[in-house]
Amino acid sequence: MIEVDNLSKIFKIYHHRKGFFGSFANLFSRKHRIVQAVDKVSFTVKRGEIVGYLGPNGAGKSTTIKMLTGILVPTSGSVTVNGYIPHRQRKENAKHIGVVFGQRSHLWFDLPVQESFELLQRIYRIPETQYRYNVEMFDELLSLGDFFQTPVRQLSLGQRMRADIAAALLHNPDILFLDEPTIGLDVVAKARIRQFIQKINAERQVTIVLTTHDLDDVEKLCKRVILIDNARLCFDGELARLRRLLSTERLLTVDYAEVYPDISIPSAHVTYQEGARVQYRFSPEEISTADLIGAILQKFKIIDISVQEPDIEELIKTVYEDNSLILPCGETT
């Protein structure tokens, strides 16, 4: 369904000189720096999969999505979506994909939701029966009826997002790209959107690529995750496997009685230190929890101590912060 091979994107960011003479000089020579937004990323997605495409801000997630949807032209490497090359066959590709950018609405700001939908019906040449069927179904699942006649500018964020997702699915796309679909929503609204995504995926076999910072989204929706950091792919596989690989690691948080200059303990890494509070990461295979606590008690005076198994959020944070920790880059299932 989606094939990405050695995909790279380099942006040239021009440096603007300040002031009158600076802007004059800009006319003749412009300094630029090169930003590698995506670096030799490869993966494939099969029909009907839901893939979480994760990474910290600026990792290159959106850039990848934009290359998959034909908005951006790759610097090198290849992309095929549904057999189309998105940047060469943008319009053809667009007929078979749905796109939702959580931060921006696709709907016409001043038009009632219904009118936007009717416009989309024309754009995608959606047959009347299919259009009616879809609107009815989406209304049932997302209660669009409550605000179907309201101009988009008057919708709440949750309503807008529901309308946007429904709009992206009106033409029965094979693939749905969701870029942060739950951003800024409350718990109830999030749950509702997740249920809807699950249902659409199950009933229509829509392939879904989801980028998000909300790890609840990932846990609820994605079996498979792709992690990207610093423009590179660093994990591709089942979420359960990521958890297994990383949950050998544990975290130990200690509140010391005073601030010690050297708080290092053999076999444990300091992950953060804030005054007298220190967090260590350790692997129970290397050193048992009891031994570690023993070693700490021998050297320092402590007030409080606690051990945690990292939750998924912590796991991903560790991956982001320390590339050496995990898997060789590019490892795939």
């Binding site: 959106s62 850039t63 949807t69 908005i71 319009k91 667009a94 921006r104 416009l119 754009i123």
Partner: protein, 271 residues
């Protein structure tokens, strides 16, 4: 042929919605009529003073001059340099152009359709009221022959089209410079002068008028109004309209080239 017909329907729908969207703000818009009349009066007072000071016959009579500036106030809002800016022009700047590109539509055609809706809206809600009110207060000449009126209508439509073709070309330079304030400011001045917006080209010194005749911008204001006033007649009307058509094709082509080249080097602002 069928797909062409279909495409036309889509863009027609875009134009309709664009019109409909703006209709929501029609009351606020009517307040803008005062601005139209303010500028109209300024022009009329200045030219009345000029003509009183110099009674020698001029290429345009005072009534014709007044009619010219009434037409200016009727039609300048239809053109994107002088009217309010459409959302599409800011789409490149803020990156929301990306969203349009995820739909199976031609961006330039979408832009045109959006602007057509806008132009129709301003014609009905600003242009015609301005014209009708002006009829009550000033001596506005009205063409006696229906053919003149028809030629004027065609020429005016071409003028609105060209204004958009030029705007698209200017704004697609935003793909390279990211900020179009400089270039659009510069072209605004050139266009305002050479279209005949401030002074009808008939009143210009010979050498400057000669330059204007070789530039595309007279097709925006001076050509359609001169046709209306009967200053261009007979075969010259066809030549003038032909000129407008050629410049239209030129700017549509150039804009298209810029857009295609631009998209391939698109940098989406804000990630």
């Amino acid at each position: 042929m069928r797909s062409l017909c279909f495409a036309f329907q889509v863009y027609l729908a875009f134009a309709k919605k664009s019109f409909q969207r703006r209709m929501q703000y029609r009351v606020a818009n009517l307040a803008g009529l005062t601005t139209n009349f303010f500028f109209l009066l300024v022009h009329i007072f200045v030219y009345t003073a000029f003509y009183a000071a110099r009674p020698a016959p001029q290429p345009l009579s005072l009534d014709e001059i007044i009619t010219y500036f009434v037409l200016c106030q009727v039609s300048f809002m239809l053109m994107p340099f002088w009217g309010t800016r459409s959302e599409v022009t800011s789409a490149i700047k803020d990156g929301s152009v990306a969203l349009q590109l995820t739909k199976p539509v031609d961006f330039q055609a979408y832009w045109f359709a959006d602007e057509c809706g806008r132009a129709l809206y301003y014609l009905l809600m600003r242009g015609l009221p301005t014209f009708l009110i002006s009829l009550l207060f000033f001596k506005v000449t009205i063409p006696q022959q229906p053919t003149v009126f028809m030629a004027f209508t065609v020429s005016m439509i071409l003028a609105v089209f060209m204004s958009n073709a030029i705007t698209i070309t200017i704004f697609s330079s935003g793909f390279w410079t990211l900020d179009t304030t400089g270039i659009s400011g510069m072209s605004y001045s050139i266009i305002t002068l050479f279209s005949g917006m401030l002074v009808p080209i008939a009143l210009w010194p010979e050498w400057l008028a000669h330059i204007a005749r070789w530039l595309p911008f007279e097709g925006l204001i001076d050509i359609p109004f001169s046709i209306y006033l009967g200053k261009i007649t007979g075969i010259a009307v066809w030549i003038a309209i032909g000129k407008q058509m050629v410049w239209n094709l030129f700017f549509i082509g150039l804009g298209r080239l810029f857009l295609t080249r631009g998209f391939s080097r698109l940098v989406i602002q804000g990630g």
